[in-house]
């Protein structure tokens, strides 16, 4: 028997609805309807179970983390450490054993072991009064969890390890101690994730999260190298555009959306005159900001024509950004908006008329 085609729940419901409608119109008969629907794998309803178990695991893990933080004096530290080790081994082993019969609950047990491991790291830090910030703890957490996610091919564990990497990046920002380390280690994490995801896992979630990590990493680098804020924003504008125009083959939808958002925000920031004034050779930022804004809006219109919903949203955001901008007096602003709006409607009417003419010509 051929493998059934996979679709999302939404797509399946749409298909079932429309096929039923077509059947009611007597365009196809019942047998044909069943045959068509039979081609598709009916997505299972058990997503809910997955979610409950995930939330349960997170709750237990957070509870353990909080218990460690309370530093309850009644239990000695070595005893607590043994409990943590034991808890980690038991939950992991329990998950491993029950995964065959109960895949979702079993996997949830393994997720708990991930969080217990984290609380173990913080416990050791607390036991031995490790000085400094928590950034090193997050690095160790990542180093422990990343291989686990790869061995178990679990996209949630990998995404969580990206989360701990981001925490490592953020909490370690002002720590002057290990900048060279951070640069190398983070790069290794990002690259290995891309390679692994491309070859083996192919998860859109991992691509999305890894992209976020990469962007934050680049932001961290340019901040460390003390590059002026204006150039940073222009850099991200370029990165966003690049992601949008040249998305990679895998998960190109994810890249397009992320790229669109990144250059949208960067462009929005560049319409602010103060941002341009950060550069030493610019006194008043009004002219560059306005010039840029015009180009930016034109680009957004162009992309909206190519059906980019996000660009359309950014057009609205930009409009409101100027509406609420106190730097412009009311009268000129009001004139600008009204005239601009009338122009747009005029354009719309002109295009509609032109298309109608072409349509009538074709009919004749």
């Amino acid at each position: 028997m051929d493998k059934k085609r996979q679709v999302t729940k939404r797509e399946y419901n749409f298909l079932a609805r429309e096929i039923k409608f077509i059947e009611e119109k007597n365009i196809i008969n019942r047998e044909q309807k069943d045959k068509i629907l039979g081609l598709y794998k009916r997505p299972d309803e058990t997503n809910f179970i997955k979610i409950i178990s995930l939330i349960g695991a997170i709750l237990v893990g957070l509870g353990v983390l909080t218990f460690i933080a309370s530093n309850w004096e009644i239990i000695s530290k070595p005893f607590k450490f043994s409990i943590i080790l034991l808890g980690y081994l038991l939950t992991f082993f329990g998950g491993y054993k029950s995964e065959d019969q109960y895949p979702k609950t079993g996997r949830a047990l393994i997720y708990i072991s991930v969080l217990i491991f984290g609380s173990g790291i913080f416990l050791v830090g607390q036991m031995f009064n490790y000085g400094g910030e928590v950034d090193r703890a997050f690095l160790l957490w990542t180093i422990g969890i990343l291989p686990m996610g790869m061995f178990l091919m679990d996209k949630y564990i990998l995404t969580f390890s990206i989360g701990t990497s981001i925490m490592y990046l953020i909490t370690g920002m002002d720590t002057y101690l290990s900048m060279d380390w951070t640069v190398v280690v983070l790069l290794a994490i990002i690259v290995s994730l891309y390679i692994y995801n491309n070859k083996l896992l192919n998860s859109a979630l991992v691509t999305l999260s890894n992209n976020i990590l990469l962007l934050l990493y680049i932001l961290y680098l340019v901040i460390e190298w003390r590059i002026s804020a204006t150039y940073v924003i222009i850099l991200f504008l370029g990165i966003g555009l690049f992601m949008y125009i040249f998305p990679f083959k895998t998960h190109n939808k994810v890249l397009k959306i992320q790229g669109n958002i990144v250059f949208g925000f960067s462009g929005l920031l560049l319409t602010i005159p103060n941002v341009w004034e950060e550069l030493s050779y610019i006194d008043t930022g009004n002219i560059p900001a306005l010039l840029f804004a015009i180009l930016y809006i034109l680009l957004l219109f162009f992309l909206t024509k190519k059906e980019s919903l996000i660009s359309l949203i950014f057009i609205f955001i930009t409009i409101f950004r100027y509406y609420f901008d106190r730097a412009y007096d009311f009268m000129p602003k009001s004139l600008f908006f009204i005239i601009g709006g009338i122009l747009l409607i005029g354009f719309g009417y002109y295009f509609e008329r032109a298309r109608k003419r072409i349509g009538e010509r074709d009919e004749i």
Binding site: N71, F81, Y88, S113, Q126, L177
Partner: protein
């Protein structure tokens, strides 16, 4: 990949265990082999969301007289800002105090690893504007002492005073905080 399942899971579980156990090695070595050191300090009582309530300790040896710094540091502080420095300690009365700070790892001496944090006072020297009591801020990794929520430590921070003594074990430049005692 099914027949490999056991191996995969074993490897996956192993790495975190190794990390947890590995984290305890150096501290335990310090506890066993370290020399007991007493430093005067003071503290705040903030909270760390992951590791719980702790004392943010400020040590007398963190404020360092400029003449205790070695010459290379005084001449070129920017270069030494990112590098590991070493603070040599010596006993004085009931406590230990700072003898001097050097850029090379000392042998056969009691020392702590440290870093140069704030040194704008050194610029005063270049301008011949050195004031008598100028001190430079040095940081050692000793600033956190974790306590339980209902512990007996009250907020006693008094700027300028060092009201507690911190007992620690020192081994190869690394310290393990053992106790915080009020004077």
């Amino acid at each position: 990949m099914k027949y490999n399942r056991q191996k995969r899971y074993i490897f996956a579980a192993l790495i975190p265990i190794l990390i947890l156990l590995g984290m305890t090695v150096i501290p335990i070595l310090t506890l066993i082999n370290g020399e007991e050191v007493f430093l005067e300090a003071n503290y705040f009582t903030p909270r760390d969301i992951f590791r719980g309530q702790y004392l943010d300790l400020n040590y007398k040896i963190e404020q360092v007289d400029i003449d205790k710094l070695s010459d290379e540091i005084i001449k070129n502080p920017e270069e030494y800002e990112d590098r590991q420095l070493y603070g040599v300690l010596k006993g004085q009365d009931n406590y230990h105090v700072l003898d001097y700070i050097t850029t090379k790892k000392p042998k056969d001496k009691l020392f702590l690893k440290c870093r140069l944090v704030s040194y704008y006072q050194l610029k005063n020297i270049k301008n011949d504007k050195k004031r008598v009591d100028d001190k430079v801020h040095i940081e050692y990794a000793l600033d956190r002492y974790f306590i339980s929520e209902d512990g007996e430590f009250e907020d006693i921070f008094n700027s300028g005073d060092y009201n507690v003594v911190v007992k620690m074990k020192l081994y190869r430049g690394r310290a393990l905080l053992v106790d915080v005692i009020e004077k």
